[in-house]
């Protein structure tokens, strides 16, 4: 990247989540221009009295959804970037440890019995953490854990839960439950409500903050184990901390909006192509890019057509060509 471009670009990435959030708050069947959106947004403080419909649309419908998209985008991107460093593999994603299918199983299972979204969320979170527990305990051999064992156990645990999800779908009632489960698995932010995101967002936020604070250590974790150890860090403990923080984020995301693919791979790569390998830059840049990307995608999902398009379809449809373009242009970014 040219030096003259670096500073304006960085400023843009910092501001991007705020700009996209305000723009996208106004987009939809009830349209508001950005200035009006801001006036409505600050009306509780400024004494400005907007139309009741505007208040309802912004605060009850769009704001929770956009907040959710911001956090999910930032969270999955940061978790992806962290896993790529942790496993020293640019193809690692937030579901490398089997957490995504673990959480999906919990959610699908609960959807058989209830439509209470809070319960679905709690179950997804619990089984996501359970999947992490499985993966880490399977990969422990004689008290030692190697990265390759972690990746392999992650694959095993993932396919195990994938099979369980299929089982749940198979036994589900075909008229009501199956569509609900299938739709849920495809990922959507449409179920978000303030009360729903209040449970999940703090968990995502905590995970992001932990990973941001440890961003320089992530560089060291990507070295050989002996090398990392000899630089004075406790590799075992640090790896576990990164895995737990990333799992909290991933499970929480899945619990609120189902499976959202691609973001955890796409965004860190884009960040690396722009800023190189140093996680001190990659992690914060992933927050900015990931959150704004997700808001734009989700706005497209709800506003492009009369019906809602599942988010994971869009992330793949928009993400894949964009990714190909980036790869062709820069020759790919190494870790």
């Amino acid at each position: 990247m040219k030096r003259s471009l670096a500073i304006p670009l960085t400023i843009l990435i910092i501001l991007a989540p705020f700009i996209t959030a305000v723009l996208c708050l106004g987009i939809g069947r009830y349209h508001l221009d950005p200035a009006e959106t801001l006036r409505v947004l600050f009306s509780p403080f400024s004494g400005y009295l907007p139309e009741p419909a505007a208040i309802s649309v912004i605060f009850n419908v769009r704001l929770p959804r956009i907040l959710l998209a911001l956090f999910v985008g930032a969270g999955l991107s940061v978790a992806g970037a962290s896993f790529q460093s942790l496993f020293g593999n640019p193809l690692a994603t937030p579901d490398t440890l089997g957490v995504v299918y673990g959480a999906s199983f919990g959610a699908a299972m609960t959807l058989l019995f209830t439509h209470n979204m809070l319960l679905v969320q709690a179950a997804a979170l619990a089984t996501g953490l359970l999947a992490l527990l499985f993966t880490t305990s399977i990969s422990r051999l004689r008290g030692k854990t190697s990265i390759i064992m972690v990746v392999l156990s992650g694959m095993v645990v993932s396919s195990l839960f994938q099979a369980l999800v299929s089982l749940v779908k198979y036994v589900a009632d075909h008229d009501e439950q199956l569509p609900a489960i299938t739709y849920w698995l495809m990922g959507s932010m449409s179920r978000s409500s303030m009360s729903g995101i209040i449970l999940g967002l703090p968990i995502i936020l905590a995970g992001i903050i932990i990973l941001i604070l440890m961003r320089w250590r992530l560089n060291i974790l990507s070295l050989q184990e002996d090398e990392a150890q000899s630089l004075g860090i406790n590799v075992k403990r640090l790896r576990l901390a990164v895995m737990v923080a990333s799992t909290m984020i991933t499970a929480s995301c899945v619990s609120m909006c189902g499976q959202v693919g691609w973001v955890g791979l796409l965004i860190p790569h884009a960040a690396r192509m722009l800023y190189g390998s140093d996680n001190r830059r990659i992690i914060p840049v992933s927050v900015g890019l990931g959150s704004s990307f997700m808001v734009v995608i989700d706005t497209f999902a709800r506003a492009a057509t009369a019906a809602e398009i599942p988010v994971s379809i869009l992330t793949a449809l928009i993400g894949a060509p964009f990714f190909i373009l980036l790869l062709r242009k820069t020759g790919g970014a190494k870790l």
Partner: protein, 262 residues
């Protein structure tokens, strides 16, 4: 600082690798570890630094066993330069060297200006200031090795442990690495333990030598005494001649392999 190993013993399963290894190094001293391929030189380094656990015996720093020291405490004193097999990681040299500060920073801390200054000074010390922004994945073997040494120095260690630092390098780079190790130990008072395949290199820079044999036995003593034709022959199963070569009042030792002893 005095670094010593007392009666170190290590085995993989029932196969003993190292038996009754003892040695010590003091500031300004260089210890060379010699032995044939696969005899356990790297294992010795890993054991003595606590990366592998001794089956019996112990490593002491100034009389304190290292397994009673905290992680950070240990790695502020010892810095390890692993065998550089090339890396796919594309961190810049400056970022790589900066990682050497890790043992001196808290878990959530980010390196500050002071750390960057120390890292830059370490690069200056080994003469690679100009490499600052070059990516590690694009470096030659010699450049990467110097970056790893600079990274070790950035921790301001009292003991430098190097695993075959001059293997895979051409003559000139070998000479640069050897001279750097010698100079660091003389000028900065850093002790050094160096694994090497080359007896001549050991004779050139080491004060002491430890020779590992196939049967797990070891020989330890002043380099000039221990590295002789007989011991080399036994350790490597090669008939060896050691010759002095005088050039401008300086004595260079050359070690010439004659024939394999069957």
């Amino acid at each position: 600082m005095n670094f010593s190993v007392r009666k170190g013993f290590f085995s993989y399963g029932n196969t003993p690798i190292l038996r009754d290894v003892s040695f010590s190094v003091a500031p300004q001293e260089v210890l060379a570890v010699l032995g044939p391929n696969g005899v356990g030189k790297t294992t010795l380094l890993r054991c003595m630094m606590g990366l592998l656990r001794w089956k019996s015996g112990e490593t002491l720093i100034d009389g304190t066993a290292i397994n009673r020291m905290s992680h950070a405490e240990l790695w502020r004193r010892i810095a390890y330069v692993p065998q550089s097999k090339g890396t796919a990681l594309s961190y810049s040299a400056a970022d790589m060297v900066l990682m050497g500060r890790s043992a001196r920073l808290g878990l959530f801390a980010q390196p500050a200006a002071e750390d960057r200054r120390i890292a830059a000074a370490a690069m200056e010390q080994v003469g690679i200031r100009h490499l600052g922004s070059k990516k590690c994945s694009e470096m030659s073997g010699g450049e990467l090795q110097m970056v790893l040494i600079a990274r070790a120095l950035a921790a301001k260690p009292q003991l430098l442990v190097l695993d075959e630092p001059e293997s895979n390098l051409d003559f000139k780079n070998q000479l640069i690495i050897l001279d750097t190790i010698r100079r660091l130990s003389r000028e900065q008072g850093i002790a050094a333990i160096v694994n090497t395949h080359y007896p001549a290199h050991a004779l050139k820079i080491a004060d002491k030598a430890l020779i590992l044999n196939r049967e797990g036995q070891s020989l330890y003593g002043p380099a000039a005494q221990v590295i002789n034709e007989e011991n080399m022959g036994r350790a490597f199963s090669v008939q060896v001649k050691i010759q002095d070569f005088l050039y401008e009042q300086q004595c260079f030792k050359s070690v010439i392999p004659i024939a394999v002893i069957s």
